[in-house]
C-alpha cells in the first residue's frame, strides 16, 4: 500500500453529514446520561457540524482548530462530568478535529490504492470499525472489573469519589482480604493442588489415546473417539450428576475398605473428575498435530534399533509437543475454571477458587471477587506470554522462523 494516491479536498456535502452523524453518536451517550437521548443527538450533531463548517469555511488554520476543539470539548466535558468528563471531552475534541480534516482533505484515500471505488473505500474503513467494535465488545467486561477491584467500598459500584479520581475512593483492601482471608487462601491452595495434578493425568491419558486412535488399524476408532470426547459435549450438569453418584461409591469404597482418610479421598475424587473433563481437549489438540506427523519417522527410528518407548519420547513427542502443550493448557484452564462438577463431587475441604467466587457472588457481592479476577487475569497474561516467548526462543534455537 504505497502512499502515492493523490488526494483532493472533498465537498462539504460529504463532510458535514458524516461529521454530524459521529457527533450525534457522542451526543446520544451524553444525552442519555442526562435523561434525554434524542436532544443529545440533535445538539451533538448540530454542534459538531457547525464546528466543522466554521473550521473549513472561516478559520482555515488546522493547528488553531485543533486547540479550539480540544479546549472547547474539555470545558464542556468538565461541566457535564467533572475531571473524567474533561478527559473524555479533550479526547473527543481531538478526535472530531482530526476526523473533520481527515475527511475534508481527503486523507482517508492517502494510504489506499488509487483505483478503489468509493464503495470499496467505505468498506475498507467499515471493516476496521467493525473489527474494533468486536474487540471492545470482548474486552470491556474484563477491563471494567479492574478499576472496580480497587474500590474502597464493599460494593460493585463506581462511587463518586472514584469518578473524581480522589485517593480515598480507592484502596487495596480487597487484595488484602484475598491474601489474609483463610477461606480465599484455602480455596486458592486447593485450586493449585487440583488443577496441575488433573492436568498431568489428562495430558498423559489424552496423548496416549490420541496416538492410539490415530493408528489406522484400530477397530471402531470413530466410535471410541466419540465416546472419549463426550464429556465435552454432554451438558456439564448431567456429567456432574452422574459423577456425583459414581464417585460417591468409589469414595465410600476407598474410605471404608481401604481406610484412606476422608480429605485425601475427596481430593482424589475431584482430581479424577477434572481429569475426565480435560481429556477431550488433549485428544482433540494432539490428534490435530498428529495429522502433520510423518509416520515414516517412527519406522526410521525402529529401523535404527530404537524400541517404541524411546521412539515415542525422542522422536514423536518433540514433534507433537505444541499440540500436547496447548491441550494441557486447555485441560488446566478447564479444571481451574470449573465450578459445577466440584460443587457436586467435592466437599467443603476441596473448595476451589471458582467455588469460592461463586458462593461469594451469591451470598455477598464482595469486590474481593474482582480483586481475585484481576490477579487471575494478570497471571494468565504472564503465563501465556512466557509460553509464547519460550516457543519463539526454541524455534530460534532450532533455526526456524518465528510464527
Amino acid at each position: 500500500m504505497a502512499a502515492l494516491t493523490p488526494i483532493s479536498r472533498k465537498p462539504l456535502s460529504l463532510v458535514l453529514p458524516t461529521v454530524a452523524a459521529s457527533g450525534g453518536l457522542l451526543g446520544l451517550f451524553v444525552g442519555t446520561a442526562n435523561n434525554s437521548g434524542l436532544l443529545g443527538i440533535v445538539i451533538g450533531a448540530a454542534l459538531v457540524a457547525a464546528l466543522a463548517a466554521f473550521y473549513i469555511q472561516v478559520l482555515k488554520n488546522e493547528q488553531l482548530a485543533k486547540w479550539i476543539s480540544i479546549l472547547g470539548f474539555l470545558v464542556l466535558g468538565f461541566v457535564f462530568g467533572g475531571i473524567p468528563g474533561a478527559i473524555i471531552g479533550a479526547l473527543a475534541g481531538w478526535f472530531y478535529h482530526w476526523f473533520t480534516y481527515w475527511l475534508y482533505e481527503g486523507r482517508y484515500r492517502q494510504r489506499l490504492l488509487p483505483y478503489l471505488t468509493p464503495g470499496q473505500v467505505l468498506w475498507h474503513y467499515s471493516f476496521r470499525v467493525i473489527c474494533g467494535a468486536i474487540f471492545v465488545f470482548l474486552i470491556t467486561p474484563i477491563l471494567v472489573v479492574m478499576p472496580l477491584s480497587f474500590n474502597s467500598q464493599d460494593f460493585f459500584t463506581f462511587t463518586p469519589e472514584m469518578l473524581r479520581f480522589e485517593a480515598e475512593g480507592y484502596s487495596l483492601k480487597h487484595y488484602r482480604d484475598f491474601f489474609t482471608n483463610n477461606e480465599w487462601q484455602r480455596s486458592f491452595k486447593n485450586s493449585l493442588i487440583i488443577a496441575p495434578i488433573a492436568t498431568v493425568i489428562s495430558v498423559s491419558l489424552g496423548t496416549l489415546a490420541a496416538i492410539g486412535l490415530s493408528q489406522s488399524h484400530v477397530p471402531g476408532r470413530r466410535a471410541i473417539m466419540a465416546i472419549m470426547i463426550s464429556p465435552m459435549i454432554v451438558p456439564l450438569i448431567i456429567s456432574a450428576t452422574g459423577m456425583f453418584f459414581f464417585y460417591s461409591d468409589i469414595g465410600n469404597w476407598l474410605e471404608g475398605t481401604l481406610g484412606l482418610p476422608k480429605t485425601f479421598v475427596g481430593y482424589v475424587k475431584v482430581i479424577l473428575a477434572h481429569a475426565v473433563l480435560g481429556i477431550p481437549f488433549v485428544i482433540i489438540t494432539v490428534t490435530a498435530t498428529l495429522v502433520g506427523f510423518d509416520r515414516s519417522l517412527t519406522r526410521a527410528a525402529a529401523n535404527m534399533g530404537a524400541d517404541p518407548v524411546t521412539t515415542f519420547f525422542r522422536v514423536q513427542m518433540p514433534l507433537i509437543l505444541p499440540g500436547v502443550i496447548s491441550g494441557g493448557l486447555f485441560a488446566f484452564i478447564t479444571s481451574f475454571d470449573e465450578v459445577v462438577v466440584v460443587l457436586f463431587v467435592g466437599s467443603a475441604s476441596q473448595k476451589t477458587l471458582p467455588w469460592q467466587m461463586f458462593t461469594g457472588l451469591r451470598e455477598q457481592i464482595s469486590p474481593t471477587i474482582l480483586a481475585v479476577a484481576t490477579i487471575l487475569v494478570v497471571i494468565s497474561i504472564a503465563l501465556l506470554t512466557t509460553v509464547e516467548l519460550l516457543r519463539r526462543r526454541s524455534e530460534r534455537l532450532r533455526g526456524m522462523s518465528p510464527g
Binding site: I197, D249, P261, I365
Partner: protein, 363 residues
Amino acid sequence: MKFTKMTALAVTTALVAPAVSAQEMTIVSWGGAYSKSQKNAYHDPYSDKTGVTIINDDSSAEAVAKLRAMNEAGNITWDVVDVVAADAIRLCDEGLAMEIDPDTMLAPAPDGTSAADDFGDLLVSECFIPQIVYSTTFGYRTDMVGDTAPTSVCAVFDTEAYPGKRSLEKRPINNMEWALLCDGVAKDDVYDVLATEEGQNQALAKLDTIKDDVIWWSAGADTPQLLADGEVVMGSTYNGRLFSVIEEQNQPVAMLWDAQVFDLDGWIIPAGLSEERQKRALDYIFFATDTQRLADQAKWISYGPARASSAPLVGKHADLGIDMAPHMPTDPNNAQNTFLYNYEFWADYRDDIDAKFQAWLAK
C-alpha cells in the same frame, strides 16, 4: 520422570498427613457476614476448646437438595447444617435430619430454666435447634425519598409519592402478604384471604400495579448492592444485611421496620452420621446454642438470639462499639407491626401459590 514421581509423592503425603491427625467437622451455613459471625461466636471458641478443625461450607441455600442427594448416595459429608425453619421442617419430615431432645441434648439457661422453656415457641420442629430470629424488611435510600421518609410498608406500592424502582424477592412469600395488607385487608385476615382463589388474585392484582417498577432479587446480597448503587429507591432483604449497609458501609440507607416478617434460622444434624461424628456434632450444638454463645453472635450481626435468656446479654458491636439492642428486629421500637412467617399456611399452599406467582411473573 524422577521429578514428577517425587512431586506426586510429596503432594500425596502433604494431603494425607494433616487429615490423619486432626479431627474435622464440616459446618454448612449461608456465607458472608453471617458465617463470619458464627465463626467468631461459635467456631473459633469451640476449636480453641476442643482442637476440632471446623470447615465452613456456604451451601445452606441448596441444603435440602444436597442432603437428599447425599442421602441417596450414602455419602453424607456434612456434620451440622444451618437452615431456615421451613427447610428444617421439610428435612425432618423426610427423615433427613435427626430428632433432638432439647432437655437432654441442649444446655439449660444459667438460671436453670430448661432449654425447652428457654426456646419456647421457637422450637417449631423436633429436629430444629433455633439460633436466631431474623426479619425480612425494607430499606430505603434516604436521599431519594424526598422530604417525607416512608413510615409504612405501603410506600412500596405508592409509586407516585416514591417514584423509582423497588426490589422484591422473587417468590410469593411475604410479597403476597404485604400486597394484601396494602390493599386494605386487615392484618388478622391476611392468611384467611390468601387461602382463597380471589384473595390470591387480589394480591397479584395489587403487585401488578408496581410490576414495571420491580427488580426481583434471589440472593440476599442483591438488594444491598442495588441500594448502594442507587438503582432502587427501596427494597426488601434480611435486616442484618441492611444493618451492614447502614452502619458498617455508611450508605445513605434507612430501615423501614413496618410489617417486617419474622423468621427463624437454626441448626439441624443430618440423619445417618456415624456414631463418632454424631457425638461430635451434638457436642458442638450443646456448646454453640447455650445462652452466652447465642448472645455473643449478636456482637457481629444484628439478628436476635433465639433464647429468651440471651436477650439481656446482648451487648455492643465488636468493631463499631455501638449498642446492638436497638438494631434487633425484636426491639420493641422496631417490632410495633410484625408478621410471623406462617409455616403451616405456606406448607399447605406454597406449591399452588408458587405456580400462580411464577405464571404471573412470566406474563
